[in-house]
């Protein structure tokens, strides 16, 4: 990256480090941090959407829909989440290919599962085997996002379901007394009020989501865990300008610190949001704010 990096043999100390940390492969590591952040940015709203759908389904008066919603919430609880990650990535991929296979190749007569193989016609492959590498990577990332959204959607559904039930019943009764329909009362009364009850659960979920991002590695995405293993491994003079011993422990220490900082910053931000949201609410936290520091002092005494 820097000009003095052209001759690695002459380098020492901080110059060497600055060269070492800006090699092309290290840039891959920094991009991977971006991948993780991108995953979080896409997954969080998607999971919230799935969660909202699941929670509304669980509350539905239509029985099968309510069973579906409750089943969705319940199933992720009893089983290790990592099993879901491994399951959904293959299952979704095969599901998509199977649907495309049904549409694109209706006159295909062989079975799809032949022994240990899953065979669909060439036109149904996702992504097409002729498409460039970048599409394969995007598709892999898309599958990972969808998997994360499904699993975390179930957690979010659980939180939102509880939050919907925590909205005081009198509020809904009042809405009906004003002549609102079920749908109106749901959207105008319940949904705006439920967030303050959902926030503790959702912020917990956000922390959990951050801590789940290294699992991207298991889903075959080249994320920070992948690069930490690659870069930290033994380097010999034949293959690189910067030979070094096994440094993976330092790379993973860096990751550890990165995640600690990330969760710590999130904690601070979430505490602020929570303070903002409880402003003027009829909850203990809101009451505390209304009374100000003096009220707090009294409570402590």
């Amino acid at each position: 990256m820097f000009e003095f990096c052209a001759d690695p043999a002459s380098l020492a100390g901080i110059e060497w480090l600055s060269c070492y940390l800006t090699t092309g492969k290290h840039m891959g590591l920094y991009w991977a941090v971006g991948t993780v952040l991108l995953l979080l940015a896409i997954t969080a709203p998607a999971a919230l959407l799935f969660g909202f759908g699941g929670a509304s389904a669980a509350r539905s008066h239509f029985r099968p829909l309510s069973w579906f919603g409750k089943g969705y919430i319940a199933i992720v609880r009893g089983v290790p989440d990592i099993a879901f990650f491994l399951f959904f990535v293959i299952a979704l991929d095969q599901g998509f290919e199977w649907i495309r296979h049904q549409i694109k190749c209706p006159d295909w007569d062989q079975p799809i599962r032949q022994g240990n193989d899953f065979i669909v016609c060439a036109a149904a492959k996702l992504p097409l085997s002729s498409s460039p590498q970048v599409y394969h990577e995007i598709y892999g990332f898309f599958l990972a996002v969808l998997t994360f959204a499904i699993v975390f959607g179930a957690f979010a559904a659980n939180v939102l379901y509880g939050a919907m039930r925590a909205v005081p019943h009198a509020q809904m009764e009042t809405a009906e007394a004003y002549g609102m329909s079920h749908r109106q009362a749901f959207w105008r009364i319940m949904v705006p009020q439920m967030w303050v009850y959902a926030l503790p659960g959702l912020s917990n979920l956000w922390m959990v989501l951050i801590k789940a991002t290294p699992l991207l590695f298991l889903l075959g995405v080249e994320d920070i865990v992948y690069w930490a293993r690659e870069l930290g491994g033994m380097k010999t003079p034949q293959f690189t300008d910067y030979p070094h011993a096994d440094w993976r422990v330092w790379y993973f220490l860096a990751l550890l610190v990165f995640y600690l900082a990330f969760t710590h910053v999130s904690e601070i931000v979430l505490a602020r949001i929570s303070r903002r949201l409880s402003h003027g609410q009829a909850t203990l936290a809101g009451e505390k704010q209304r009374k100000g520091p003096r009220g707090r002092g009294k409570a402590a005494a």
Binding site: V79, I82, L86, R113, N204, V208, K211, L256, Y259, L260
Partner: protein, 268 residues
């Protein structure tokens, strides 16, 4: 080959007893059930030992965090922060490579690079941190009246802690601690997917489930089997912890007893 033969061959495969080669083709349902079940031995081993040892450390850390002296409180806070603030997955990797590099200097650490000890140590510290936070919360909500009553009886120091504060703390913490236990068992599936190698293919339940999924390219059989085993394990944990909960609450009038409620799943 009948199913009984398969069970005889593979039921203890995860411990290295029985048939050496894993099945390679023509997988039967019986093979998948047996091998994944055999892997559960590791999950139970990690879960039970980490839980029992972590419980003791957690009590100590929670008490230290509630202590008024800074030199006791700060280390406890940092311990909890480090293990709760970072992903367990990264902790496994870090610990594995740490033991690897320590092994070069001190052969004593050789055993720690194997999963049975190294991963157990990580799980032990991790669950101790999570449980300590739960216990600390419970310790903070021990009713003032209980402590005052103990004072009035002339108890102080260790007897007061042992006979009044600690049982109440446990009683208050138990529902949350049950959740922690369940998710600890779930977390044990991460062991063989992080740095720790499964030597001679002696892996846990998820290791074998993903082995079958990779070989057959059909995730719809091994993962539901795994789910079945884990739901069974979860129910057992709930049952056992429910018994303890009953014991902890048996002096209270019926309507004040704490019920165990399952809460949202936690990934570490």
């Amino acid at each position: 080959m009948s199913c009984w033969d398969t069970i005889a061959d593979y039921a203890l495969r995860s411990q290295g007893i029985g048939e050496r080669l894993l099945p390679r083709s023509d997988f039967t349902l019986c093979q998948q059930f047996t091998l994944i079940g055999s892997g559960m031995i590791w999950n139970i081993y990690f879960g039970v030992l980490a839980l029992v040892s972590g419980f003791m450390l957690a009590t100590g850390v929670a008490v230290a965090k509630a202590h008024h002296q800074l030199w006791l409180r700060k280390p406890a806070e940092w311990f909890i922060f480090v293990f709760r603030g970072s992903p367990l997955f990264i902790q496994f990797f870090f610990a594995y490579f740490l033991f690897q590099s320590l092994k070069a200097g001190y052969p004593f650490f050789g055993a720690f690079t194997a999963a049975w000890l190294g991963a157990l140590l990580v799980l032990f510290l991790n669950t101790a941190a999570y449980s300590a936070e739960i216990f600390y919360g419970a310790l903070m909500s021990v009713p003032k009246g209980d402590v005052e009553a103990a004072d009035a009886y002339g108890m102080s120091g260790w007897p007061r802690f042992r006979r009044v504060i600690w049982p109440t703390m446990l009683r208050l913490a138990w529902p949350a601690y049950t959740n922690e236990a369940i998710f600890l068992f779930h977390a044990t599936t991460l062991v063989f997917f992080s740095g720790f190698p499964a030597s001679q293919q002696r892996g846990d339940a998820l290791y074998y489930a993903s082995y079958f999924a990779d070989k057959t390219f059909n995730p719809f059989i091994p993962y539901p089997i795994l789910a079945f085993y884990f739901i069974l394990l979860t129910l057992t944990v709930i049952g056992l912890f429910g018994l303890v909960n009953k014991r902890l609450n048996h002096h209270l009038p019926k309507d004040r007893r704490a019920k165990i409620r399952l809460r949202v799943n936690l990934i570490r």
